[in-house]
Point group: C2
Chain length 430, copies 2
């Protein structure tokens, strides 16, 4: 699978991953980043915070691997054993590292904190260790070589690990001496399930080329489709595959790389100098939150309304109380008036309005849990649709927030055709 012959193993530490309290996503991140260089991880071992077991495992790994990445155990507590474990394996002492102290002082200084004894413990490293830069956290990353094996010790906090991996991957690329020919194209989609995507490709692309590796990564709400080639000469075949996927999935493709629905919508708005507002009932502010997570979102998003209660829909957004009574909050007249009220109050060009039954309570025979009315568009051209998406509460909120953003994306791109989930999720007998 990989074109580099480096033998790489991961050692993951922490009682929380052994007890199942934490799901380890760090090792997947490390594997994906190394994969960009064509480096495969051949073995991962996870252990609790037990000195003896860690020492024996790391010593065994150092015997047979070229590169070991240790994750976790860099923190200030007594549970954090990585430095002393590596020192034992390397047969060196633990000592205070001047560079690590400087890093910690700087980190505390930025936060106007005093360096305490617990922080100082983080600067106790195996003698001869070299620092790995952590631009955002207090944890001190470090590396040293034992025998012929390079051992990198990285932080368990996912954001800190992600930043440190940038440096590690750059350094590995330089050490490998030649640019990898590996190329990964990631397409982000919304509105297609993984099994449907696989079936479509199996049915329509029977002659998939051997040099183009196809992968999927299903996350709610998006599905990533990944095309990997390991040799430059397969790039033309990759581009042909991409064209086939674009034919198959069409406007369900949001963009490349890390594209998100919220980021794409904000970029489309920015180019047009237009703005979007939200009127949310069952999604409860999630659409606004997804938009405002994006840096610079203030250009395209000025105001959002969370109108959870009926009287608030009336008083804040001007929804007709008569319509609330006669049609109920989860109805076309109400969701349209929510959108229009938000458009007016925010002086915005586009609105998304959502009113539905997230559950677990609140459903009825007529409108079961999962029923939702969605409205989207402008004052002049406002559309609305009833869907039924009967899944667990938080997944319901996630999928409906995404569907709302997707409809605005489609509007801004002038896409007329309906997404697949409209047919699949259309509410009963509509």
């Amino acid at each position: 699978m990989a074109d580099q012959s480096l033998a790489v193993q991961l050692l993951l530490t922490g009682n929380e991953i052994m007890s199942g309290d934490t799901v380890d996503s760090n090792s997947a991140l490390i594997a994906r980043r190394l994969g960009e260089l064509g480096i495969a991880v051949e073995r991962k071992v996870a252990l609790g915070d037990e000195r003896k077991a860690l020492i024996s495992e790391l010593a065994a790994m150092a015997e047979c691997a070229d590169l070991v990445i240790v994750n976790g155990g860099l923190g200030p507590t007594v549970d954090d054993l990585t430095a002393e474990v590596l020192a034992a394996v390397a047969g060196v002492a633990i000592e205070e590292h001047a560079g690590a102290i400087a890093h910690l002082e700087q980190w505390c200084g930025r936060r106007k904190l005093q360096l305490n004894a617990a922080n100082r413990k983080q600067a106790l490293l195996p003698a001869g260790a070299t620092l790995l830069d952590n631009p955002i956290g207090s944890a001190v990353g470090f590396e040293m070589t034992v025998g012929r094996c390079r051992i990198l010790c990285t932080p368990g906090v996912p954001g800190e690990l992600a930043r440190m991996l940038d440096t590690i991957v750059d350094d590995l690329a330089a050490r490998l001496g030649r640019p990898s020919e590996r190329s990964v194209l990631r397409l982000q989609t919304f509105g297609i399930g993984e099994s449907t995507a696989q079936q479509l490709i199996a049915d329509h692309c029977p002659d998939w080329p051997a040099g183009v590796e196809l992968g999927f990564r299903a996350g709610a709400p998006q599905l990533e489709i990944k095309l990997t080639v390991n040799r430059a000469r397969d790039l033309a075949a990759r581009d042909a595959c991409r064209a086939q996927l674009e034919d198959l999935f069409g406007d369900h493709i949001i963009g490349e790389g890390d594209a998100t629905l919220a980021g794409t919508v904000l970029e489309l708005l920015r180019r047009r100098g237009e703005t979007l507002t939200t009127a949310e009932s069952c999604t409860g502010g999630l659409i606004a939150s997804l938009l405002t997570r994006v840096p610079g979102s203030s250009d395209g998003f000025h105001a959002g309304f969370v109108t959870y209660a009926n009287d608030i829909k009336a008083s804040v957004l001007g929804v007709s109380e008569a319509d609330l009574t006669s049609h109920g909050a989860v109805s076309e007249p109400v969701v349209r008036q929510m959108a229009l009220g938000a458009l007016e109050r925010a002086s915005a060009d586009y609105a998304i309005a959502v009113s539905g039954i997230a559950g677990p309570d609140g459903g009825s025979a007529d409108k079961p849990v999962g029923t939702v009315w969605l409205a989207w568009g402008s004052r002049e051209n406002l559309q609305a649709l009833e869907l039924c998406w009967p899944v667990e509460r938080n997944l319901f909120q996630t999928m409906l927030a995404a569907a709302g953003l997707d409809m605005i994306r489609r509007r801004l791109l002038g896409i007329d055709s309906q997404p697949r989930y409209f047919a699949q999720r259309r509410a009963n007998a509509k």
Copy 2:
């Protein structure tokens, strides 16, 4: 760590977990289910679908563990190697298992499918293996004993694994013959970092009892402190430790188990029949979203306002345009007026208002990125404070949303003392 002396290891198989395309959550599920019986997993190893590596790893595990659970590799494709790997380790042949064929025929029959060659491959098991019941999927689970080690082979599909674990856990409980004495107490805290917590305990609890295991799980925004005892006779010592922690951390403890700030605030509101509203600028709807993730949140939360732009703060919440101009959006008068505007428009009893600079842009020398004004309380008693929390944008939003909820929690509980983060995060020269 556990009171049962069973040595348990997990072997996780699959190229998709090695490449990072899939995050392994199965091993966490297995660990949590075994944890219910007081059984700890001492080691987990993950490998790709490579016959030789799998055989050597499983053989080594069988040498030193009492119980090995293998996950994945039971499917119908050539990548699915578990049966032949176990046969090689046990030194037996592979043969068609009559019970497995019956299971597959039944499974296909329910779906009106014909048993095909790929399905039949799933019935090829090591000679002498016993089936593990899979009530929902086609994969055939099986077990056998090699030397003194019991080896259970389970499916990689999470839903099928979950159902099979019900049977496995019941069977283990029966074999162990007595209920576990293990007891885990989890305390949720907000406003104390892991290193501070560790330091406080080290300083104030020098005689921590050996029978009470102390653990931490740092998540943004909460820190979980976990007290585990493995013998019933240590429960009194655990309760004494808990009392010490309550003295040390006091009102920074939110609650037990899975308590969250949003859930705690909603429960306090529900008991009083009162409501909360939100006026969010830099947190952009995150506080509203956290509240509405909780089932039943409509009792205590009726309306939220996301007023990201200055003119919206004026038009929607009635903030004085003169104050916006003279003091700026990130100022005490503005955040107080945001809170009061939301209180009036939502007819709510309490409000949280937040206005700050989440970054990465928008800071100035006077008000750097991370500067934020927070207001909280009721019409009659509205408090406000300026903090500076200079961290990455999404972490800033997470921590400020939590701080807002925490201040309402403190108000509802009548807590007068200030949280530790007020002192640490107080803005310059205030």
